[in-house]
């Protein structure tokens, strides 16, 4: 790590930053500074003020109070272009690339070099290639469309796009959320290279493990205030969590794993020789009542497709699915639901949330038939619906003003809890959750873990698909590892360890 780090003056310093939104104090005299050549992580729960602070740096919001200094000169950021001109570039959590344009076109989107109406394609290609190479990404063809390259690589393109502005400060808002261990490592290799070139990197993540492994310093925010700035090399994951939430956190994953009784319940779901095109090959397993199965693997190892096939939303599915011993045909969500299977997909925004509808309407969408006045009259009994929704808002602990609040106004964690509650209310036997905690804060994560284990205790069978192998280890009774479409390994809770798991995730090759 850079030795001169302690002495060098900060390249960017924010002092006493205050930002008010109607009815809420988002930032309260926050101090934050980064130095040249460090990876500085900004840590905090959702709503702690991280994104607001970064949006002030990006020129999206302007601070109500406080000063920002860049290389000891006060600067004013009124517009995103001000920030770019001062050398501050940001990569947002939601990727902003246009899927139908090529890599190179995306990097230069909106500022294509050229004269009049003619684009200077040669310059675009050469510059794009240079930028990609400078960050060590030489395996992406700049002529491919964004839609055709995997998510992990899109993230790299997004970073390359930010780097094309030659920033002194690079802000990354949860860049690793959709990445697996390998891709994350690769990303950090790139970040380390940038660090050695003197770029100051601000890194926002929910994964404290990454903070511990890769970052130099970290600033923790809580409720819009700075809790402190720590040297990462002298701290631990649990210390950071406790700083974030302001209290001790125990039993993060499951509290009852030791007291798990009723070892051999009946098999409720049986999958035999299931294949999905070439993505899932010949997978066979059984699911028992009341167990939590965690499926992990590298991104694209087929775990998502496996779960989606069980919900009837994959094409080219072959093999046999048995429910309570009887073979069933599942080719659409409504058939899956009929057979007692529900799915929470990994694309919360595209495939789960109906942002303009209320929490209530989102929650009862699959269950409206429960609230009919009578079997044959499809009129909704609003009072019955409302009281049931209120019950689940309390049960799942959704922070919302009322059941009628539009889902758009809720935080990511609460949106996720709403669509989890959607399926709890439907009360099906088998729950498939893909990446249920992606992009949500530690507090909401812990609540979802607690919820999963209490559901299992009620006799529900749960399959959690996640690329976060630590999460999978923490919550599951059995851990399945997928590798290149095959079910490579099944671990029992007692025999699994992080080393063994990583070994299998990598396809049985030693992991360094």
């Amino acid at each position: 790590m850079t030795q001169s780090l302690q002495e060098s003056p900060p390249i960017l310093e924010m002092t006493g930053i205050t930002k008010r939104f109607p009815g809420v104090l988002a930032l309260n005299r926050v101090n934050f500074s980064v130095k040249r050549g460090e990876i500085h992580s900004l840590i905090g729960q959702n709503g702690a003020g991280k994104s607001t602070l970064m949006k002030i740096l990006a020129g999206v919001y302007s601070a109500d109070e406080g000063t920002i200094c860049m290389e000891e000169q006060p600067i004013h950021l009124r517009h995103p272009s001000d920030s770019l001109n001062k050398g501050i570039a940001i990569v947002y959590q939601e990727l902003s690339l246009l899927p139908n344009l090529t890599v190179a076109q995306n990097i230069f989107l909106g500022r294509e070099p050229g004269k009049w109406l003619l684009l200077d394609n040669k310059t675009i290609f050469n510059r794009s290639r240079q930028i990609l190479e400078s960050v060590g990404i030489d395996h992406i063809d700049i002529h491919t469309k964004i839609a055709d390259i995997p998510l992990a690589q899109r993230q790299l393109v997004e970073i390359a796009k930010a780097l094309s502005h030659n920033p002194k400060v690079l802000i990354l808002d949860e860049p690793t959320a959709p990445l697996t261990g390998d891709d994350t490592k690769h990303l950090f290799d790139i970040l380390k290279r940038l660090r050695s070139q003197g770029v100051a990197i601000i890194f926002i993540t929910h994964r404290l493990k990454e903070v511990i492994t890769y970052c130099d310093r970290g600033t923790v925010l809580r409720n819009g205030q700075t809790v402190g700035c720590v040297d990462i090399h002298n701290t631990s994951e649990s210390a950071l969590i406790e700083m974030m939430i302001g209290q001790k956190l125990e039993n993060f994953y499951r509290s009852d794993t030791a007291t798990k009784h009723l070892p051999k319940q009946e098999v409720v779901l049986e999958v035999q020789g299931l294949s999905v095109g070439k993505k899932v090959r010949d997978v066979t397993f059984q699911v028992r009542r009341g167990e939590i199965i965690g499926i992990t693997g590298l991104l694209g190892a087929g775990q998502n497709e496996l779960a989606r096939a069980l919900f009837g939303i994959e094409n080219q599915v072959a093999g046999v699915i048995r429910r309570n011993g009887k073979p069933v045909r599942i080719s659409s969500p409504s058939e899956a639901i009929y057979h007692g299977i529900c799915l929470l997909t990994e694309n919360r925004k595209e495939e789960g949330l109906i942002l303009e509808m209320s929490v209530k309407e989102n929650m009862t969408l699959p269950s409206l038939a429960f609230f009919r006045l009578s079997k044959w009259i499809p009129v909704v009994n609003h009072r019955k619906e409302h009281s049931r929704v209120e019950e689940f808002i309390r049960k799942v602990n959704i922070v919302t003003r009322s059941a009628n609040t539009r889902l758009r106004t809720l935080s990511g964690g609460n949106q996720q809890k709403t669509i989890v509650a959607r399926w709890l209310l439907r009360n099906l036997e088998i729950l498939l959750f893909i990446e249920p905690t992606r992009g949500i804060d530690v507090g909401a994560k812990a609540e979802i873990y607690r919820l999963l284990s209490s559901l299992a205790n009620e006799g529900k069978s749960i399959i959690v698909v996640s690329t976060d192998h630590v999460e999978v280890m923490g919550i599951s009774d059995r851990v399945f590892v997928m590798y290149k479409g095959r079910l490579a390994k099944i671990f029992d809770k007692v025999e699994v360890s992080e080393e063994k798991l990583l070994f299998e995730i990598q396809g049985g090759v030693p992991h360094d």
């Binding site: 930002k19 939104f21 109607p22 009815g23 809420v24 104090l25 988002a26 729960q45 959702n46 709503g47 702690a48 003020g49 991280k50 994104s51 607001t52 959590q93 939601e94 808002d173 949860e174 809580r222 409720n223 919900f311 939303i313 659409s332 969500p333 409504s334 899956a336 639901i337 009929y338 595209e350 495939e351 789960g352 949330l353 109906i354 942002l355 303009e356 509808m357 309407e361 969408l365 699959p366 409206l368 038939a369 009919r372 499809p378 009129v379 909704v380 609003h382 922070v399 919302t400 003003r401 106004t409 809720l410 935080s411 964690g413 609460n414 959607r422 992009g439 804060d441 507090g443 909401a444």
Partner: protein
Amino acid sequence: MTNNPLETSSTPPLAKRTVEFRKGEVISSIFSQFGILFIVILLAIVFGATAPRFLLVQNIVNIFKQVSVVAIMAIGMTMVILIGGIDLSVGSVALLAGATTMYFINHEVTNTPIAILLGLLASALVGLLNGVLVEKAKISPIIVTLGTMIAIRGLAQSILWLDNSWAWVKAPLFKFVANESILFFPLVVIVMLVMYLIFWFILSQTSFGRYLYAIGGNQKATYLCGIPVERVKIFAYTLCGFTAGVGGLVLISRLSAVSPAVGLRIEFDVITAVILGGASLSGGSGRLEKTLLGAIIVGMILNYLTIKGIPGTLQSAVNGFIILIAAVLDRLSKVRSAG
């Protein structure tokens, strides 16, 4: 959006936040709820001041009578636009309803009520056809309904052709509806209000209505909730055909004749009314009561232009610009809510 400052999972100054936030939201929701009503009132004041005849009871009743046809047809259009579709065929469907109903009555095939039912059935079938082509054949709704608009008008005109391309509306029921009123309310306006009540109930109180909003909001998510999305959408198109038919029958009763030009270009007035009512062309939002106000705005403007002696050609120019302005407003409101 990990960090929406308005809704935090931690709970700092909760009480304060709730109060202030609510105040802001109430104002904006009042505007979005009643904004269009303000426009109606504003227009009434301006028009009344510049053309005193405009505010005479007689004229207001007249506006409502004129508006009734477009307003009824706008009911189905609201549902179709709600699910992100569009139906250009409503004018032709209106003619089809009128032509078939009058054919059955004038040739004494059936009695009037049955003839009306058959006319409405034909309209609903066209809607069904639109829905099936859009949903099953996956053709864009503009192309499908452009096709049926032309085809159905031709078909309806052929039915008229059997009667020398012109059918008088002689059935007493139609004359009664067109000319009678209860208190101040002409029957055509009552028919309109009853239609709005029925469909308001369907949209706000039934699971079908809920599904329409859900599909418009996020079709994929709705499908993944096990909702039969295709069937719901096809049914919406079918209902749009039905309301177009009802509108067509009200129209011919007011005209007391069916000519080949009945309902020509009315789809634009209907779509304008829906868009003015705040329904988003990308689906997911739209309220019937606001569509009704949108139709009233269109009616008020056209009535005012007529009072002022503006020629019809210029009126359709104005109408076109209203569509454009409404579309721009729709776009602007989206940009604002996204930002």
